[in-house]
Each structure stands twice: as structure tokens, then as C-alpha cells.
């Protein structure tokens, strides 16, 4: 063997592993280069990461930026009240105008009706009714213009605030919780004014009035809308006393008290508004 061949052989033996590693590295580099420069391959690797980041960002957005955005809007609103008013004024103005126009139209129609009735048999009926009941004629006319309407009735145990029965034209909220809250409000007001002998009689809320009629161990809350006249209130009081006397005192100790009370409430008060006409 020549010296050169021997040297080549020796180099091959000594550097074979390095050469293989270099080849492998070169292959990896080539592959990486391909991955970086091939849009499809790069997308398949990077897209899931970006998607994850996007999801995390979307989920955390309210937490991360909510307070800042709210603060910015508040500051913006405060600093540019004129612009906000200018932007909202036409919209809100149009809405209010439309609502008032429609309500005035309704009122005007009803006034017209009443004027037409003034010298009719109906008109005389109102006068006689006012004279007999002692209710001012204007109250009777007003009651026809903005008719009061019973929306809901709750019969509630006084101390516990538990619902004993209810009547509702349109169930909107949890009646058990309404009964509890009404009892808490009643208790708070009565405690605040340290008046054991006096009781909260009504709560006014814009177009609604909650009339509270107390008895010994329970009270009845009537939610009414519209203009409540004294004749309506008197008639309601009478009917509530009658209901308590005839139905409640017997029903509350019965097997299915809640159902019985609720059924009787519907019988008693379903036609109450119509009877007022």
C-alpha cells in the first residue's frame, strides 16, 4: 500500500463519524431552509401557534383591555359631551317626539270620546255614579283616560316573606324572590322609621304602583299600572278585604294552599279592570 493510500484510509477511519454527522446536519439545514422558504410548510407549523395566540387574545381581551376601554370611553364622553349630545340628540329626540306624539294622540282620542259622551246617556251615568259614590267626576273621567290595570298580585306571609299565592297577567321575574324582596323593603322602611304601629302602604315606581294591604299574619301586594284613582283604590281595598276574609283565612291551612289561593286570586281579580268600566 502506498503512503498516500494509507493516509486516505486512515483519514476515512478517523473522520467517518464526523462526515456522517456533517451530512446529517447539512440535511437538517436543508430541510429547515425548505421549511422556512416554502409557504405551505411554514404555514402548517406556524398557523396552530398563531391560532392559539388569537384564541387566547380573544378570550382575555375583556379582562386585559376592558377597564382601559371603559376608562377611555368615559374620558372621551366626559371630554366631548357636546359631540356626544350632538350625535345622540337627533336619535333620542326623534324617539321622544314619536312617543309623545303617539301618547298625545291617544289622550286626545280619549278626550274626544269623553266630550262626545258628555251629554249622552254614558255622560249622565258618570255624573250619577260620581254623585252616588261621592267620587269626584274628574276622577271617574281620568280613570277612563288612563285606566288603571292590575298586573300582579302577591299574597305573602308577613314574617317569613314566603309566597302564599299569586296572580299574574304576565310572569316576568321569580315571584318567590319578589315576595322576599318586598318583605325586606317593607321591613326596612318600618324598622328605619321605628313605627311598629304603622305600615308601608304603597311603593311608586314610574307608571307602576305597588299597593300593600296588611293583615295580621300576611299581606297582599297589588302591582297596578296606569293612573290609580281613589275609587279604584277603594274598590280594590274592599275586594282585598273580602278576599282575605272569605278565601285566605280558610285556604292557608289547607293541603294545597298555594294552588287554592292562586286559583281564587284569578277568579276574584281577573275581571277586576273590566268591572271598573
Amino acid at each position: 500500500m502506498s503512503e498516500e493510500l494509507g493516509f486516505k484510509q486512515l483519514r476515512k477511519i478517523l473522520l467517518e463519524q464526523d462526515w456522517e454527522e456533517r451530512q446529517e446536519l447539512a440535511q437538517k439545514l436543508h430541510d429547515l431552509d425548505d421549511q422556512l422558504n416554502s409557504r405551505e410548510r411554514l404555514e402548517s407549523k406556524v398557523n396552530p401557534i398563531l391560532q392559539d395566540q388569537e384564541n387566547r387574545f380573544q378570550n382575555n381581551f375583556p379582562k386585559l383591555f376592558g377597564p382601559q376601554i371603559t376608562e377611555t370611553i368615559k374620558t372621551q364622553n366626559k371630554d366631548s359631551q357636546d359631540e356626544v349630545v350632538e350625535a345622540l340628540y337627533p336619535i333620542i329626540g326623534r324617539m321622544i317626539k314619536k312617543y309623545i306624539t303617539s301618547e298625545i294622540q291617544k289622550l286626545s282620542d280619549r278626550v274626544d270620546e269623553q266630550m262626545e259622551l258628555a251629554f249622552s246617556w254614558e255622560g249622565w251615568k258618570v255624573r250619577i255614579k260620581a254623585w252616588i259614590s261621592g267620587t269626584p267626576q274628574k276622577d271617574l273621567v281620568m280613570s277612563k283616560l288612563i285606566e288603571p290595570k292590575i298586573e300582579e298580585i302577591f299574597v305573602i306571609e308577613k314574617d317569613s316573606g314566603l309566597l302564599m299565592g299569586s296572580f299574574s297577567r304576565q310572569v316576568s321575574v321569580d315571584q318567590d324572590m319578589v315576595a322576599g324582596m318586598l318583605t325586606a323593603i317593607k321591613a326596612f322602611v318600618e324598622d328605619a322609621f321605628s313605627s311598629e304601629q304603622q305600615e308601608l302602604e304603597s311603593i311608586d315606581y314610574e307608571n307602576y304602583k305597588v299597593v300593600l294591604k296588611s293583615f295580621k299574619s300576611f299581606y297582599i301586594a297589588v302591582v297596578a299600572s296606569g293612573g290609580m284613582t281613589s275609587s279604584f283604590r277603594d274598590r280594590l281595598d274592599d275586594l282585598l278585604i273580602d278576599f282575605a276574609d272569605r278565601v285566605l283565612k280558610k285556604a292557608r291551612d289547607g293541603e294545597d294552599a298555594e294552588q287554592e289561593i292562586s286559583g281564587s286570586l284569578a277568579e276574584y281579580f281577573n275581571d277586576f279592570d273590566d268591572a271598573d268600566k
Binding site: D159, S160, L162, M177, D191
Partner: protein
């Protein structure tokens, strides 16, 4: 036939009454502290011994002394949960006195005593605190993890129906 019962949660402020209700009724917990003003009412329907029981839960604003709470909030309650914070001795220092007061105004109502925030102490520390209080039947709960919360309400429900 559905039955309704009024349950009141009382105790010092910041002991976790509202959080216990939030955990029991809505299965939620929040670390934010919002003090209860006056009273807040919640509702949960349970099935106890094949009977449907509606719990009307009154979350009464915390007070160091129960006699300061308007009596009308407490009257008519069928069951009481007295809550204290296991990490704050000031919330259970006057426990016996407070329980006696509650028993005097609600003689028929079962009362369960709750040591809340158990997640903040180790088992040994809890044992040490409860031993020091010298009152039997205290249940340690955690509104944060939900541990024992359902159990204590169910126990009170059973006692109210018994």
C-alpha cells in the same frame, strides 16, 4: 307538594356569606369583595327525601352583633346558617353569645354553624381553631373550592323538615 322555607345567613362582615350562597346557588366563586347592603334574596330548589323544598335564602349584611340587625329580617326564618371566618378570631370570639341571641328570637329554627375559608388553613390549623372554639357540630367549608357547601345546606334542609 312543594314546601318553601326561609333560611337566613348571618355573621360578621367579610366572612363569606354571599360567596357561600353564590357557590351553592350559582356554582360560582369570585375573589372580589363586595359588601352586602341590607339584604339580598336568592332561591334554590332541593329534593329532600323525595320532597321538593324551595329555599328562600336571605343573605343579611354582616354585623359584629346580631342584635343590630333589624329583627324583621330574622323573624319567620325556618333555619339559620351562622357563618364565621376560620382565619379571623374576631369573627368567632362572641360566637356563643350570638347563637344564644339567635335562639332567643328563633327558638324553633335549627342553626348550623359554619367555619368558612377552610382553604386558607392546613388541616392541623383548622383542628386547632375548632378545638379552641369549644362548640360542637361546626362544619368547616370553603366557598372558594365548594367543599362542604352543598352538604351544609342539605343538612339544614333536612333539619328544617324533621
Amino acid at each position: 307538594m312543594p314546601i318553601s322555607k326561609k333560611v337566613i345567613l348571618v355573621g360578621h362582615f367579610g366572612v363569606g356569606k354571599t360567596s357561600l350562597i353564590k357557590r351553592f346557588v350559582h356554582q360560582k366563586f369570585s375573589d372580589d369583595y363586595l359588601t352586602t347592603i341590607g339584604v339580598k334574596i336568592d332561591k334554590k330548589v332541593l329534593n329532600v327525601d323525595s320532597a321538593e323544598l324551595t329555599l328562600i335564602i336571605w343573605d343579611i349584611a354582616g354585623e359584629t352583633n346580631q342584635s343590630k340587625i333589624p329583627k324583621s329580617y330574622q323573624l319567620g326564618a325556618h333555619g339559620v346558617l351562622y357563618v364565621f371566618d376560620i382565619t379571623r378570631p374576631s369573627t368567632y370570639d362572641n360566637l356563643h353569645e350570638q347563637l344564644n341571641y339567635l335562639r332567643s328570637i328563633l327558638p324553633m329554627a335549627p342553626i348550623e354553624v359554619i367555619a368558612n375559608k377552610k382553604d386558607l388553613l392546613s388541616a392541623e390549623e383548622q383542628e386547632q381553631v375548632l378545638e379552641g372554639i369549644r362548640h360542637t357540630g361546626i362544619h368547616a367549608t370553603s366557598a372558594k373550592t365548594g367543599e362542604n357547601v352543598e352538604m351544609i345546606f342539605e343538612k339544614l334542609a333536612g333539619a328544617m323538615l324533621a
